[in-house]
């Protein structure tokens, strides 16, 4: 036990003292906050821009549509005639809307043209089209002798109050929140496994190539060495994440203090969550912050916390011991390719399945992949915020533990033989033989 502690300490320090680790740890939060600021800055710049659009209204009934708004100014060039207006617009304005004189109200909607220098965004076109459509419809309704006032009073808006059978309120915001937290946890585990699993593998290869391995295993059991490596690297990883969280939080705090709250509208959580998701949450949050808070309270936080720890440990231990076995089996990192694919495959599948979990958290794909131990650490964590039956959670965890024991045993065997083998690039057949040594 004492030796395991020594090994963990050495592995941890070797990792933490490494220059590239230090640089990555210190630089990442700066880069991240910088990137967020850049995005915020650019999007603000974008929305500050004011467009001027000219129009020619030969029908003489649609001019009332073109009211100036915050970002768009309209100029009436009807008097200039189409050719001259076009020349002028191409020089000074964003675009020109041409409404020809129609034969009837029916024809009015057909012949309208929008001239622009570059192709306008769909939202801009849609917005103007919408306004024109409304106006023309109202004109038609008037022509058909409808009373607009009465029509307006008949308009209705249905907004569901959603609630599950046990009486908890649910909402679209809640759904997004669940998606975001589940996705964040799953993605975090995915990243951690890949980054620190590879780092375990490198450390094993380093011991092999520097030929210190035989000296070490004459003092400690290979299994102890393997575990020490796995835990040492994990601790370094946890430290790195903590530093990232704290410094990112601190930097965002500073940025907020300097530039005001709008600058950090993206929120500090944006690191693991796709920005568009965050935006949605943010927009909804602005509309009803208290409701979101109550939604957060409704999440199964305790279950999420404990299952995060279990799946994190299980997933990381399973994969990092496979990585350790791969490192032991080869002589150099270039030889690892043939073994990496089968390891990365389930992880990538898990992330893809994660997307379908968001669509249908209790469908057969989601359920089966959240039970399968190589994908469950990611998929199950994505499902948990949506509520998972306790028996599925239990089966999934049991399978995870069984797989963990089996895979670690298997990896330890390969590791034990592999670290003392030099010179040949092993095949899968060879690895199978090692199990029996």
């Amino acid at each position: 036990m004492n030796k395991l502690k020594l090994i963990i300490k050495r592995e941890f320090l070797a990792k933490v003292k490494n220059k590239s680790f230090i640089i990555l740890t210190l630089l990442s939060p700066v880069l991240m906050v910088g990137l967020i600021m850049l995005i915020v800055f650019l999007s603000q710049k974008n929305s500050e821009e004011i467009r001027t659009i000219a129009y020619i209204d030969e029908s003489e009934i649609l001019a009332s549509v073109f009211q100036n708004t915050e970002h768009t100014k309209y100029i009436n060039l009807t008097k200039l005639g189409i050719e001259e207006a076009k020349n002028k617009s191409s020089e000074f304005y964003y675009g020109l809307i041409y409404i020809p004189k129609p034969d009837s109200l029916e024809q009015l909607s057909k012949g309208i043209t929008f001239f622009t220098q570059d192709s306008p965004s769909l939202s801009l076109i849609g917005g103007i089209e919408n306004k024109l459509e409304n106006k023309i419809r109202n004109l038609k309704l008037e022509q058909l002798n409808f009373d607009l006032e009465k029509l307006k009073s008949a308009e209705t808006d249905v907004d569901f109050n959603t609630e599950n059978f046990s009486g908890e309120k649910s909402s679209k915001i809640g759904g997004i929140l669940k998606m975001a937290t589940g996705g964040a946890f799953g993605y975090l585990i995915f990243m951690f496994i890949i980054i620190y699993g590879t780092s375990v593998m490198r450390s094993v290869i380093e011991e092999k190539t520097s030929r210190i391995i035989e000296v070490i295993v004459s003092s400690v059991k290979p299994f102890q060495l393997m575990l020490g490596k796995i835990f040492g690297n994990a601790l370094a990883g946890v430290l790195q994440f903590i530093i990232w969280m704290i410094s990112a939080g601190f930097l965002l705090f500073v940025v907020t203090a300097i530039f005001g709250p709008e600058a950090t509208n993206m929120d500090s959580g944006g690191m693991q969550v796709a920005p568009e998701m965050m935006n949605q949450v943010q927009q909804s949050a602005n509309s009803d912050l208290e409701f979101v808070l109550s939604e957060v309270k409704n999440l199964p936080i305790i279950t999420m916390f404990f299952s995060f720890i279990i799946y994190f440990l299980g997933g990381y231990l399973i994969y990092s011991s496979i990585y350790a076995a791969i490192g032991a089996a080869v002589d150099s990192e270039t030889d690892t390719q043939q073994f990496m694919m089968p390891v990365l495959m389930p992880l990538i599948i898990a992330i893809y399945v994660g997307f379908s979990v968001i669509e249908n958290p209790h469908g057969p794909i989601a359920v089966s992949f959240s039970l399968f131990p190589l994908t469950s650490p990611i998929v199950m964590l994505m499902r948990i915020p949506f509520g998972v039956p306790w028996w599925q959670l239990l089966v999934s965890m049991l399978l995870l533990i069984v797989a963990f024991l089996g895979i670690v045993w298997f990896a330890a065997k390969i590791y034990r033989v592999g670290i003392l083998m030099y010179g040949k690039k092993p095949s899968y057949k060879e690895l199978y033989k090692w199990l029996k040594y």
Partner: protein, 308 residues
């Protein structure tokens, strides 16, 4: 004589390949024991089993009378043939770590390392990284790391590789000094002259089997062929040579320049040299008479050839 290590009927198979077939050796306390054999004979497999890096399929091992257990790794020091150190770790830090893995306390390890570093005059390397040292320098550190915990049993696999003659001598003297202080040493090498110089006992392994073991001097006696190198002075050397040839099996040897006749005579197994001397003395003047005793190299080659 008490044994520090006793290996009894050890077998080890890797799949269909037999690495060790029923091998038994005994290493007497306070001796230097040479473990010899051609490449791939199974020496490293045996050494790894003694170090508990791998487990034997069958057989027993006793260290100082006790059945070998994991705790015994603290009493063994091992310098493997494939050796190295962490390249980016500082020398002192690394030696401390390895000492602690051998069960020493931090304080004790530090004290002991200071002693060794001063002895080898390398104290100023303490804060250097291994990658800044030359290969020979790193080997010195490696040697210290092997012996610093004062183990009862030291196992050296090709300890002199990578050393220049001066440092090889330094290491040789240190190994013999450790033996004088009570450590027992297993010494595996292909350099027969160092076997001759250092080993009191040897075991020879060929193709997974032990084919020879015992005290080196006994083995030499066993391997001598009753051959004598003789230098004679006389008038008619050619006539004398023919005369001797009729009575004994003789070869001419070239390297007795100071004699008229230099020959090697092989006596039948049951005959002693007394009659030969008498005969030669009556015919000529003997300038030189030596029994030819095989050296370790001869024994190695002969034993392996006989085993084929």
């Amino acid at each position: 004589m008490e044994n520090i290590l006793k290996v009894e009927n050890v077998c080890k198979n890797y799949g269909n390949f037999t690495a060790l077939n029923n091998v038994s050796i005994s290493v007497p306390k306070g001796s230097v024991f040479g473990l010899l054999g051609p490449n791939g004979a199974g020496k490293t497999s045996l050494i790894r089993i003694i170090n508990q890096i791998t487990l034997p399929d069958s057989g027993n091992i006793y260290l100082d009378g006790e059945k070998l257990l994991p705790k015994h790794v603290h009493q063994i020091g091992y310098l493997p043939e494939e050796r190295g150190l962490y390249k980016s770790m500082k020398v002192g830090e690394q030696a401390l770590y390895l000492a602690q893995l051998k069960g020493m306390s931090h304080a004790k390890a530090k004290k002991k390392l200071k002693y060794w570093f001063e002895k080898f005059e390398i104290s100023d390397w303490w804060n250097k990284k291994i990658q800044e040292l030359s290969k020979g320098m790193a080997q010195k550190v490696q040697f210290i790391v092997t012996v610093m915990h004062s183990p009862k049993l030291l196992i050296f696999d090709e300890p002199f590789s990578g050393f220049d003659p001066i440092n090889a001598n330094l290491i040789k003297d240190e190994i013999l000094k450790l033996r004088d202080e009570g450590a027992s040493i297993i010494f595996s090498t292909h350099r027969m002259e160092s076997v001759e110089e250092m080993c009191e006992y040897i075991a020879l392994i060929n193709k997974s089997n032990k084919i020879l073991d015992g005290k080196l001097s006994d083995i030499k006696t066993e391997f001598k062929e009753n051959k004598f190198a003789v230098g004679l002075q006389c008038e008619n050397s050619e006539g004398l040579y023919n005369e001797i040839k009729q009575k004994f099996s003789v070869e001419k040897s070239e390297n007795y320049n100071d004699a008229n006749l230099g020959i090697t005579i092989k006596l039948p197994q049951n005959e002693t040299s007394t009659n030969l001397i008498k005969f030669l003395n009556s015919k000529s003047q003997i300038t030189h008479f030596t029994e030819i005793i095989p050296n370790a190299n001869d024994i190695f080659l002969k034993a392996v050839a006989n085993n084929e």
